[in-house]
Symmetry: C2
Subunit: 462 residues, 2 copies
Amino acid sequence: MQRTLVKDAHASAEPRDSILLQGWVRTRRDAKAFSFIELNDGSCLKGMQIIVPDTLPGYAALMHRAATGASVEARGRLVASQGAGQKWEVVAEHFAIVGDADATYPLQKKGHSLEFLREIAHLRPRSNLFGAVFRVRSRLAYAVHRFFQERGFHYVHTPIITASDCEGAGEMFRVSTLDAANPPRDAAGAVDFVRDFFGRQSFLTVSGQLEGETFACALSNIYTFGPTFRAENSNTSRHAAEFWMIEPEAAFLDLFGNMDLAEAFVKHLVRDAREHCAEDLEFFSKFVDKQLAARLDFVLERPFQRCSYTEAIEILEKSGRNWEHPVAWGDNLQSEHERFLAEEHFKCPVTVYNYPRTLKPFYMKVNDDGKTVRAMDLLVPGIGEIIGGSQREERLDVLLEAMRAHNLNEKDYWWYADLRRYGTVPHSGFGLGFERMLMFVTGVANIRDVIPFARTPGSAEF
Amino acid sequence: MQRTLVKDAHASAEPRDSILLQGWVRTRRDAKAFSFIELNDGSCLKGMQIIVPDTLPGYAALMHRAATGASVEARGRLVASQGAGQKWEVVAEHFAIVGDADATYPLQKKGHSLEFLREIAHLRPRSNLFGAVFRVRSRLAYAVHRFFQERGFHYVHTPIITASDCEGAGEMFRVSTLDAANPPRDAAGAVDFVRDFFGRQSFLTVSGQLEGETFACALSNIYTFGPTFRAENSNTSRHAAEFWMIEPEAAFLDLFGNMDLAEAFVKHLVRDAREHCAEDLEFFSKFVDKQLAARLDFVLERPFQRCSYTEAIEILEKSGRNWEHPVAWGDNLQSEHERFLAEEHFKCPVTVYNYPRTLKPFYMKVNDDGKTVRAMDLLVPGIGEIIGGSQREERLDVLLEAMRAHNLNEKDYWWYADLRRYGTVPHSGFGLGFERMLMFVTGVANIRDVIPFARTPGSAEF
């Protein structure tokens, strides 16, 4: 007999004479002539209530083993439920234990700290919270693909292992097959990376943007969605060493078209999660973040605002606030500034653009003022910057000068410069940290809790 | 004015008074009172023919610059084409050069070798062949997600950086931030990986299966789709150091259900590419592999066959062939054997299952005969093994014994064993190498030519 997922059973339009459910026991409650078992199979938040009558053969022994965490199967009739909170329940005609879980099962009832659950990351998706988080993660990833595919963007797998450093920021993981204890040395005694696997020193990527640009300058509209890495030794709730990033890039698109795309994208993701993960989001609103529903409405209902960096500085200066970090043209906006702009001044998501050239990487298009570049950051309430992007410098001479100013070796970027040498076009793109978006949509406060197995300093368990 | 993609212009139902196209010049042909320009923007294989009349201001200078590779924009009327091979063409009322390409542009007309094009991997997507390859790659990736999402499978991002070696096969890339020249040493003089970023020696993943199993044992049906790595020093047309793999895993699924899933998946991918990439596949059939269309039909139209490894050995022994590699029960099937089974004996895709235990990894479910495990390989004509999978060993004692037999340290797999300790369930899964599938669907013979920027021994350019 074919298995039915709990999700599909709940969606049933009518009673069914025979249904087979398989999953794990969440709770068991024994009554006089039967037991109630909540069977969860992870297909949705809610389990199915199974009524096991004591007339089933071996009832007592079965119920003894049907403890929290045990895997079971139940075959029976799907009938309208007498109880509150559910439309259907199953009256079992057959009930079997598939795999036991004894009293040492770590996910007993409740009250575990998030820290403890991180230590059992292999079991935590069996809990309500993490089941919901990872269902939303899956749906949101699919929503990313749908958004771009339906708009004619091509998905590109940019390389994970790379010899170039997009941001020029350092903080990269080295990838090597050399003997760590006794690496080969060159004549000068330095490690001879020419004898490493790739014939040169290589690293894990920090961004697929530069490679993405090469494809945008061929297929017009592309996006990447893949893992990226930062070897940053910071133990915060918002940083992980390994995270997933989405980076669209479009030819013949200027900074304002880029903003349009970013806004439509963020709204699409929020709308999609609302539509397809309603039950899970309700759970987050109730148990994780009471402000969640309001914050998501905020993004969906308000038109996004835009203001230049220079205007933003003026707004902050005139605010009369005592800033922890002083406000000055030429300095980075700090978290307190970004939150003030989105949450208090504009009271909606806001895109700040045209940042001082000195604050930004070499590849951004220089404005006619010579002082600012066509950068943009999308700030959302409660979280601050969620998207960063720019129009790229498409003029060869200006790009080469910027490389020199950033002490980059032109030879390392010959292929990137080629895009400006042959049929150059205005083009733009941005990056969205997938986990940051997920934190925004679920209200979960620690990035470690939206990643299946988080990689952070000192931690690569599982 | 809003840009129209060439693809959408071709799909136009009626003429349009005004349309804006932007892209790159593929060819220019000058006639008496006008020039024909083929404008390609990568949205589809076919370019749009632009007719530039010599009455446009600056016509001579413009046409001089409108060389192959230059980026241009054309505004004008979309009209029914007089020529053969296209429905629409554009009569330009405005034509401008966006970016020049001089005679050094490496992608002049044609006749370049694939080897040369690999050296300009940043420009090759502008060619017909590679534009088509990477559009199909994008569509096929989307088809992967659609297949699983529509069947209630949850997408899981298993970790890229890992301290465990799924296959126990070695050949992994080390990931480190230690000073390669002077790594810290422990008291015995060995490299002290405790002081490395993750507090232990860590690597790039070779498979997300083990972590995927933890999620299948919570959400029931999951799949991964991410980059995987092999530090194998082999320079063949079928191996890359970095490639993408799809690994579904399902709870309460046995080996035969796993075969059903794998067959449906392969058929879905082929059907989806046929439906959505018809023009690109036609190009491959014409210029890359004349057998392509027949081979894809073969997969779609034939029911897949199944035969046990033991039966396969009998078939091969009785075939009367002179095998280069002798056939014997207990030995791996070689490429010549696999191709014989699919192409000559069964004349259709065939799943071989129940392989000798000694040939397979520790995690596969041991059959009652004690000699074979519930492994399966799906073999397709022209390419051999395209999918490998198994039912997993869900019995704790048998699993622990298998680990010992494979010299694995139980302590390293405590969490994997936990899945069998608490609510264990029968479960199965398989892996599909995405590039191998792409080679099958496009007929492209070298894996380097279906990856945007291939990573192979000695090569991590771009």
